[in-house]
Amino acid sequence: MKPKLNFEWLHACSGCEISMLNWGEQLLDLFDQVEIVHFPLLMDHKYGGQLGEGAPLSLPEADIGLVSGGVAHQEHLQVLQEMRKQCRTLIALGTCATHGGIPAMRNQWSTADTLHTVFTAGTVDKEISPSSAPAFLDRVYSIDEKVRVDVSLPGCPPQPQLIGAVIKALVNKDAFQLPQKSVCETCPTIREGKKKMAPVQRFLHNADYDRDQPVSEMQCLLEQGLVCMGPVTAGGCGGKDTPLCLQARVPCRGCYGPVQPGGNQLLDMMNALASNGIDHRALVDRKSLLRFSGAHGLLKPARKKN
């Protein structure tokens, strides 16, 4: 019997799923080996209260479940819990699922403030949202904050080959190893130390490089004064090759989340800069360094000052 696969998406953009589809023809081989029993993006499958009959949410049983997106409201939570219940192995797919991702940026404000800003500010509407809409949680959670997760596969989106490799390994019950190191591991730029690092520059500033030379002839972008999040960010976006942003000669934005489980990209980056004698206060909107990893309680509304 073929192993069964469940897919779900929560507070997500479908980028992770699209990335998976980008695996190309190899995906077809994979689909031969498995039976997909639930995949809202690709398959019509009614569940929960969606037909209006008020039945309890129910998902089919599966060997492997993949969840993208974070947890922002009650329905996300319900779906997630049902996924956990039905799936023997649960994969958090993409940075929203693993670290909150972009939606978790709203964790720097309270839910009430967010709803107000989004729905009522500048309009005549008094109601924030219809009362039938699911209740919002106090903040956006990564899925491992709510249920046990067996495999965390970060990335915005995760590299297609990596998703495929993980599913394949699980299906074949092979051992697999996710990248443990930071983006710098596969970054071939020239590094000499940060002593001569230029003052921190805005992101719109271009890197200094010779377009006829390979990336390995370019000076480390951080050493050029660009806030490259490489050192504090989990690697893997380029597979064994040069990290994707670096291939494009722009600094890493940190989309794979912290290199350390439980790490804090903002703090780690600021600390690394301060330790090297760089004025960390020159950084504009430092909270944006948590743009991909605001869950786990890292981004919080500022404390009210009395």
């Binding site: 106090d138 904050e145 443990q180 190191k181 930071s182 710098c184 591991e185 596969t186 071939p188 590094r191 000499e192 130390g193 940060k194 002593k195 480390c220 951080l222 050493e223 490489g230 050192p231 504090v232 690697g235 064994k240 912290p258 290199v259 350390q260 790490g263 780690d268 980056m269 600390n271 690394a272 330790s275 090297n276 004698g277 309680g297």
Partner: protein
Amino acid sequence: MSDNTMSGAVMVVGGGISGMQAALDLADLGFLVYLVEKTGAIGGAMPQYNKVFPTNDCSMCIIAPKLVECGRHPNITIMTLSQVVDISGQAGDFTIRVRKYPRYVDTSKCIACGQCSAQCPKSVDDSFNSNIAKRKAIYIKYPQAVPLKYQIDPEACLRINQPGACGVCAEICPPGAINFDDQEHDHELRVGAVVMALGFQTFDPSKAKVWGHGIYPNVITSLQFERYLSPNGPTDGILTRPSDGEPVKKIAFLQCIGSRDKNRCNNEYCSSVCCMYAIKEAVMAKEVNPELEVSIFHMDMRTSGKEFDRYYERARSEYGVKFIRSRIHGVEPKGTKGDLRLHYISPQGKQIEEIVDLVVLSVGLETPDSMVKLAETIGIHMTPDRFASISAFMPVHTSRKGIFTCGAFNGPRDIPQSVIGGSAAAASVSSLLASARNTMTKTTPPSIELDVRLQEPRIGVFVCHCGTNIAGVIDVEELTAYAKTLPQVVHVARNLFTCAQDTQDLIVQQIRDNGLNRIVVAACTPRTHEPLFRKTLKSAGINEYLFEMANIRNQNAWVHNQEPETATRKAKDLVKMAVVKVATQTALKPLRIPITPSALIIGGGVAGMTAALNLAKQEFHIHLVEKTSQLGGNALHLFQTWNGEHVPRFLKELSEEVLNNPNIEVFYNSTVVEVAGHVGNFNTTIKTGTNRKQTIEHGATIITTGAKRYIPEEFEYGKIPKVVASIEFDKLHMHNETRVANGKSFVFIQCVGSRNKERPYCSKSCCTHSIQSAIKLKKEVPSRQIYILYREIRTYGQRERIYNQARELGIIFINYELHGPPKISREDTGVLVEVWDHVLHRPLEIKADMVILAAATLASPEAVELANMFKLPLNADGFFQEAHAKLRPMDFNVDGIFVAGLAHYPKPLEESISQALAAAAKAGRLLARKEIALEPNTALVDPERCDGCGLCIDVCPYLTIHLVTYQDDDGSVKKSVTINQALCKGCGICQGTCPKRGITISGFTYNQIEAQIDAALCTELTPEASL
């Protein structure tokens, strides 16, 4: 003498702190040491004390590691119950007959279980407890004794006095160690040199009836008081009246009992230590009971040592100890309840009667008759005060070549002076026997270490009571029970003193029995005791770094002593923190690097030259850096030592010897400008007179940068030409300049710039100096009127003799106080000195032809820069701060750097020379090792995590981190960093920078610290609970 006749063995006679220090230094300098002790255990007087001044450290706690070290050292043979009978031969080749008295207990069998003592029916006065408690006829001297073996007192034992009687100990002794037929044996030992550290006894006040000691039970000696206060004493540290056990409300300390006294005894000298120990005992008693009234009756408070005056001042102002300047000549009973009556005359001249509960006699130190006799037998000269006769220039040399001396046998002195003496004697022996170094020593085979890498942690926790220091506050039973519940803890034990030798053996046994592979000791601070316990782990065959301490004394019991429950809870956290930390500790091996066998000595004064010459004779190369164009330093201004020895001649000979020694290279007009490297391999750059920079490689550093003199701003100095400082006066006096030659009236003013608010310390040598000048003036022209205006006369030790001589010659001593200094004004051709006379109780006007100011000794201002370069601390007065005031008086916490002379604190020449020799011993001990094992707590790169991002490279203060590229298994090029282990100091700045835990300090890894945090907070939070 040809080399092959020199013996590489040394005998140290006396197992007190001074003898122990000499033995330890000698053993590490490459000599085999016989440590001969007349009692059943080494330790001398220190184990009897409760606390030591001025640090208030628990005496037992600081001496215990030394006891253990002596007991363990492969090159120290301890001979207890032994006495030297005679010494024949000559320096380098002595034959010594040692008589070993019977112990009646086979030390190879005794397991110190104590059953014999428990069953022994005979009790006698316990001299260790100053006879305020009893001990059995079979006993150990004190619980932490080394060696920890029982002994039978043949005078008390029933069986030995009557064959056939008793014998119960022999019947019950489990290993059958009792041997009533034990006999005395004479041993003949061949040694190259002898160190006499014969020690002292305290004066017995019961011989003179006036103080009522031995008559009134509430009159006790200071040593008895010490035993009452001591938590391991017979009363567990609780002080009550000996007569009726009632609480003590009022105590009087009487100073100078058996000191500074020619009438009731023949001890003319000052015992040097009693003022400080009386203050200490008073403060300790007040700490336990602040309501207590404590008065100290004294003649002068002689608190001339480092930090002593501050201690004195704190006792007065913070603790409210009363100091009354009056010598009490008798103690009488008041009523029949045990109260005591004292009579004295107040500073205002009134007769006062005082009733107290307890009188403590501050008894002085003296040389026991038996030791005087031994000195006679051996043929070493003694002073009239019955101490070893020594020259200030050779302060540890007896009159017989090859026989050295140290400790209180050289004159009454405190612990640091005794420690310095011990090291100084070792240095002197080492230079004499340099050619025989390492000819008799054993080398220890490398210990076989259990590989625990693949074992699950099996943690043993040892909870120390520290007497009552910990157990008096923390519920140690509850703590022990808690420790047993912690993960991976398989064995928990409690000990009265975990640092004692017997406990070390016990720990080793328990490690083996329980298969422990990681140890936690919950006791005092790792800063003092970690090395000891690491050695214990080593001897148990496990890596010494698989160890952690929980500081439940200094950082818990002592600082929360009013909150036993909270402190117990905290102790649990601290133990848990240590347990989780040690669980992931890995075995480490020290990095061994060769040592550059030379020393850099900074400062070419007497201390610097003495150290240089000693080390040069020990066959090490010396770089002596002097900032001026001349050797000699401050001693160039001195004319004589306190006992009249001629300084300029000595200085000339010393400089010549230094300049002629091929092992010494002198750099004049030179200063240190840059310091790099570390213990064993320093690279110091000096700037020489020609402004050239030169880098010197050396293994050890000795700082002897001296001090400078205070230029008075008071007493019209510099305004009236007849007011001069003592150093200037000496020169005028020597040349018999007209001001001196024609002078009929001279006034010396003491403590000019010393002992005031700005400089609350004593310059130590000025009292003696002024009195010597005064005596010379008086002897030249007996009609001269000479006045010494003083705050306290501090002619400590045998210097008291010249104070007495001065008074006998008619020199007038007038006391003044800090708040009422003398007033100086110009009058006609002379100087008018006005001062309040405390004896006559009226102002006094003296017309002086010359006023001599005893100006303070100040720290050298250059010390600041040097301290910064070498990373050394200075005290509040700007003098170099040694590692420990008591037991490490010339060391720093930075390895390989030592201090001696005035750079450490003002002191007379002989003490500078002693300290210089002691520093040379320490430096020699290091250089003789040839290689050094560096602390392995350095940064380690985790190849699983480091990806060579390079964030850590420029944060390293020692530039030890470098980026490297390598090829991984797939052949792709990867980056990482490497650390130069020899340069890494383990500061962890890299660890604090790395965002991926790619670099970590062994012993302080990120994971360990995080585990400690979690344990401290006892985290049991679930994700839900953290919402």
